[in-house]
């Protein structure tokens, strides 16, 4: 929607650029998820601190893949025109000539957005603007509070990097990575707890896993975005097998043809549905993934025999 009027939006980028030149010693924090390092730079009057979930993912700000400036604003308003995409919940997306702008709002606070986030087309640079009146100045703002943290991840991944999936990732005692995918209620956290009982097993996350190719090998990465079991590790492993979770009366594995597997994976992926380029990449990625790693439907019973079934597959 480039070129459309945006008269109700305060364009803070020139002011931000000027303040960035002045801030020099401003606070900086950085974290790395799925091999992508994100750095945040705030003004002197903003005490930036990593959210406790992100602390294990803390990284050096020296080599950043995504550079984000953060600032306060005393006025924030959505454009008057329709968004490119409305999530039906907390966020809306507006296309701009030089990138994308997300607005975050909730009925709890009224119509005005409490935060906006602009990113360039490649999701390498961004500006997050916090509406000052909604934030407690005495506390460190959680700038990338859900869902912005995941939105940033899925958009950047869709630019040729990988895909985030709704899954639990476990690494067995032989360092083999198993990916168990499922919608809410499919048994991800239950499975994660069962796997945890097995000695030498690491659970990378019981809800969100990032998949990428590393030197031709499919690899899965833990994320801080955990499920009911609260399991999250800043770790990764080569992917040995993928399983679509389904509650059953017994444990049974059914190998899926690659096309069907790719469709099942796509249904359990977090992708920018509004972005044709991102969707194309994700579909290609999943096609390649299902050609290189087997994917089975896994009907399971929620006890330790389910873990044994996969270990002996």
């Amino acid at each position: 929607m480039s070129g459309e009027p945006q008269n109700s939006v305060v364009d803070l980028r020139p002011a931000l650029a000027a303040s960035a030149r002045k801030r020099q010693a401003g606070p900086q924090i950085a974290y790395s998820i799925g091999g992508i390092t994100v750095g945040l730079f705030g003004p002197p009057d903003m005490h930036l601190k990593l959210d406790r979930q992100l602390v294990p993912f803390c990284a050096s700000p020296a080599a950043l893949d995504v550079h984000i400036e953060v600032d306060w604003s005393d006025h924030l308003a959505k454009p008057s025109h329709a968004p490119t995409f409305h999530s039906g919940g907390l966020w809306s997306l507006y296309e701009e000539t030089d990138g994308h702008r997300f607005f975050f709002s909730t009925p709890f606070l009224g119509a005005a957005p409490y935060k906006s986030a602009w990113f360039d087309r490649d999701f390498r640079r961004g500006h997050v603007t916090l509406f000052r009146r909604y934030f407690d100045a005495r506390r460190s703002p959680n700038v990338l509070e859900y869902p912005l943290d995941e939105l940033l991840a899925i958009h950047r991944l869709s630019r040729g990097e990988g895909v985030e999936v709704h899954a639990v990732g476990v690494v067995d005692e032989s360092n083999r990575g198993h990916l168990l995918l499922g919608h809410s209620g499919a048994g991800k956290s239950t499975s994660a707890r069962l796997w945890q009982k097995r000695p030498g097993v690491r659970v990378l996350s019981d809800d969100r896993i990032i998949l990428r190719f590393d030197r031709g090998h499919a690899r899965m990465y833990g994320t801080p975005w955990h499920g009911d079991a609260g399991l999250a590790l800043a770790d990764s492993a080569d992917l040995a097998g993928m399983y679509i979770l389904q509650h059953g009366c017994r444990n049974e594995l059914t190998l899926l043809p690659a096309g069907r597997a790719a469709a099942e994976l796509f249904a359990r992926s977090f992708v920018p549905y509004h972005c044709q380029e991102g969707l194309k990449f994700t579909l290609r990625f999943l096609e390649n993934l299902t050609r290189s790693v087997s994917c089975s439907l896994f009907q399971f019973v929620p006890d330790q025999t389910a873990v044994e079934t996969i270990c002996h597959a």
């Binding site: 959210d51 406790r52 979930q53 999530s87 039906g88 919940g89 907390l90 966020w91 909730t106 009925p107 709890f108 606070l109 409490y114 935060k115 909604y134 934030f135 407690d136 506390r139 460190s140 703002p141 959680n142 509070e145 859900y146 869902p147 995941e150 939105l151 899925i154 709704h166 919608h183 809410s184 209620g185 019981d206 809800d207 969100r208 975005w225 955990h226 499920g227 009911d228 609260g230 069907r260 469709a263 099942e264 796509f266 249904a267 992926s269 977090f270 992708v271 549905y273």
Partner: protein
């Protein structure tokens, strides 16, 4: 190698008619539109109370 030889040397796969498989999407989960706490409308709703203190568990 002629086409006839090729045919003889290759084991013919039985024909399998294409099938349409329905895969269910969960758009409400897929678009990251809502807070992951069931029944909450957002990170600042209900018990959360502040946009600076959300660390919700996943679904």
């Amino acid at each position: 190698m002629s086409d006839g030889q090729k045919t003889n040397n290759q084991a013919r796969q039985p024909y399998e008619a294409p099938k349409v498989a329905r895969v269910s999407l969960r758009p409400e989960e897929a678009v990251l539109g809502h807070c992951k706490i069931v029944g909450q409308a957002g990170p600042v709703s209900g018990t959360c109370g502040s946009p600076v203190a959300c660390s919700t568990p996943g679904s």
